[in-house]
């Protein structure tokens, strides 16, 4: 089996006072063993919800997986009981969160927080777990791990805390690591260090990574494949090269255009005008139609299907239909040209 994780037509809704919010609408994804997939998109596009759905970490009372299956090594995670899911969380699939300042328990030593998962999943004795925790801290590049293991999170800097979070996530050698914006809350220099560390660790451990981010620079750094999300759906997916150098969806063009570039004299940063659709009442056509400069009548009325560009590259856009007018991506979106 090549795919370790597979999402097929997953739909997730939140029940709010205002009504049903369809946060994820028909997402299909696959993750191969040891590969790194990035999910990019702006705030509210459904990236984080997708990742929390895989972990089944969404609030039980207000959220619901309406449709679809999440296959992890062939088992459908949506059908597992809470107890079965507890066995998978942290040991088979684990997660790194956005803000290291708040994602560690302030009243527990970092050592204990690392050892918790180890003792639960691998039945290690206290001493074995401690030894393993020290090794993990060493692995993520924390100096003096023997001393720091007994310290509390407030004694660590932001970057060091994120290393601890990574150590916790990697403690049981998970097969899949979901990193939800792991560098967003960090300084730029620390971001680079953490990304280096993650790339390094992936090579060492062979863990497959799902990287959730809105930072295309991070994607280019770490991922072999990219899925672009918008309005709760995946609008384009392909290898990193395909999506960066031959983007097909106008939303991807917009994202790439709005990336700051070093070699231009433009004073202003390009932005995509407008705001993402309200998922309380999602449009029946393409979610990007309202902001898309190339939108046609059909875009408003009908949701486009994903069409194959190559065997690995797919985009859901009516422009790819043979009846559509030929449109070239804007100059600013050409990463290749800028090189």
């Amino acid at each position: 089996m090549k795919n370790i994780l597979e999402l097929n037509n997953v739909n997730v809704s939140f029940h709010t006072f205002a009504g049903e919010v369809k946060a994820v609408r028909g997402v299909s994804l696959h993750l191969e063993k040891g590969e790194s997939l990035a999910i990019v998109g702006e705030s509210g596009s459904g990236k984080s919800v997708t990742s929390k759905t895989i972990m089944r970490l969404l609030p039980e009372k207000t959220s619901e997986i309406k449709e679809g299956e999440i296959l992890f090594e062939g088992r459908d995670l949506t059908k597992l009981s809470n107890r079965e899911m507890e066995k998978i969380r942290g040991s088979e699939i684990s997660m790194i969160f956005q803000d290291p300042m708040t994602s560690l328990n302030p009243t527990m030593t970092v050592g204990k927080q690392i050892m918790e998962g180890l003792r639960k999943h691998q039945n290690l004795s206290k001493n074995e777990a401690k030894e393993r925790a020290i090794n993990l801290l060493k692995l993520v590049g924390i100096p003096n791990p023997e001393i720091r293991i007994g310290e509390y999170p407030h004694q660590f800097s932001g970057g060091m805390r994120q290393r601890v979070v990574i150590a916790i996530a990697l403690a049981c050698n998970p097969k899949v690591l979901i990193a939800d914006e792991p560098t967003t809350a960090l300084d730029v220099t620390i971001q680079a260090q953490i990304l280096d560390l993650m790339r390094d660790l992936q090579q060492k451990t062979g863990t497959a990574i799902i990287l959730i981010t809105h930072d295309l620079g991070v994607v280019a750094n770490l991922s072999q494949r990219v899925a672009v999300m918008y309005g709760g759906t995946i609008v384009e997916t392909g290898t990193t090269d395909e999506v960066f150098y031959n983007p097909k969806h106008p939303y991807t063009w917009g994202l790439l255009s709005s990336m700051p570039k070093l070699n231009t004299n433009d004073k202003e940063l390009l932005a995509i005008p407008g705001t993402p659709p309200n998922l309380l009442n999602p449009p029946k056509g393409c979610p990007f139609a309202a902001r898309c400069p190339y939108a046609m009548q059909v875009c408003v009325d009908h949701m486009p299907d994903a069409s194959d560009v190559t065997s690995t590259h797919k985009a859901a856009c009516w422009l790819l239909d043979e009846r559509a007018p030929k449109v070239e991506p804007p100059e600013a979106a050409l990463v290749g040209g800028a090189r």
Binding site: S91, N105, I168
Partner: protein, 309 residues
């Protein structure tokens, strides 16, 4: 830590000195004298008694005499009860009060914590509403109302427990229960708010993502963090309890310190008033110190800051 405690001890002594002085002068402002009730005494006899106890001296002189004796550890003798030393009187009476206070604190805190945790975990359900309603009632209705209700229904109507007096464990239940209502309500309300706050924190999601069971997440990660602010209110609560016993002891005719304290004020029994006030003050101050130390134990961020200071 040692330095912290020593520093606090010094402040405690200063606080005690101020409380003692204030109480002394306030007490002297009270009309009447300890011997007014004795109608058989002639004015000459009263003068002799006053002279004997130094009550004819100017107030400042009395003050310095009292403080001097206090430093020697002598709290004086009661004017009313056959010249018995005040310290013995307190020692005899403290038992029931302390037992009641401790029972009410422990029972109230445990039940309050459970109610608060359940309310937070069952947020916006019937359990939450019932617990919140109970908390509001418990805080707004004074303890003597519950005391009366318990006496009438449990004591008289159902005849399950003795209505009053102090003669074995059976007699503890009703007064301790009436005292603990306020504790339960306050602790439950605080715990609920804090738990809700903590359950929304990112580190709870981290704990869940490690695959820990619900129970472990609640017990190890949520409760401890939610306890930090709750511990701070235990100090004021304990103080409330001690003042609460003044009334409850009277209602249930418990021969405790509060009962004696209230009596001593109406009788102008100066040494008893002073000694009891000092005793209560020491209790308050020690409770507050213990709370501060506990706070440091629960929250490592404070522990380290204290260690450096």
């Amino acid at each position: 830590m040692v330095r912290f405690v020593l520093k606090r001890m010094l402040y405690m002594l200063i606080t005690l000195f101020i409380i003692t002085s204030f109480t002394f002068f306030l007490m002297k402002l009270l009309p009447g004298s300890p011997f007014n009730n004795e109608e058989k005494l002639t004015d000459a006899q009263k003068f002799i008694l006053n002279e004997k106890y130094g009550l004819n001296d100017p107030v400042p002189v009395q003050y310095f005499n009292y403080m001097g004796n206090l430093l020697k550890g002598d709290m004086g003798v009661s004017f009313q009860y056959d010249n018995r030393p005040v310290s013995t009187m307190i020692a005899e009476r403290i038992g029931p009060s302390a037992v009641l206070g401790i029972e009410a604190t422990i029972f109230g805190t445990i039940i309050g914590l459970i109610l608060g945790i359940v309310a937070a975990l069952r947020h916006n359900t019937a359990a939450d509403y019932v617990s919140s309603l109970f908390a509001v009632l418990g805080i707004s209705i004074p303890s003597f109302v519950f005391a009366g209700l318990l006496q009438y229904y449990v004591g008289v109507k159902l005849d399950w427990l003795p209505v009053a007096l102090w003669d074995g464990p059976k007699y503890h239940v009703l007064p301790a229960l009436s005292l603990s209502v306020f504790v339960i309500a306050t602790v439950a309300r605080f715990m609920r708010t804090e738990m809700l706050e903590v359950l929304g924190q990112d580190y709870i999601t981290t704990a869940k993502s490690k695959g820990l069971s619900k129970l472990v997440v609640i017990y190890k990660h949520s409760v401890r963090n939610a306890l930090i602010p709750v511990v701070t209110i235990l100090g004021p609560l304990a103080i409330n309890l001690i003042t609460g016993t003044l009334i409850i002891e009277k209602i249930f005719a418990v021969p405790g310190l509060g009962y004696q304290f209230v009596g001593s004020i109406t009788l102008n029994d100066y040494p008893v008033i002073m000694a009891t006030t000092i005793f209560y003050s020491v209790c308050f101050i020690v409770v507050i110190l213990i709370v501060d130390i506990l706070y440091g134990i629960i929250d490592p961020r404070i522990r380290v800051a204290g260690g450096k200071g």
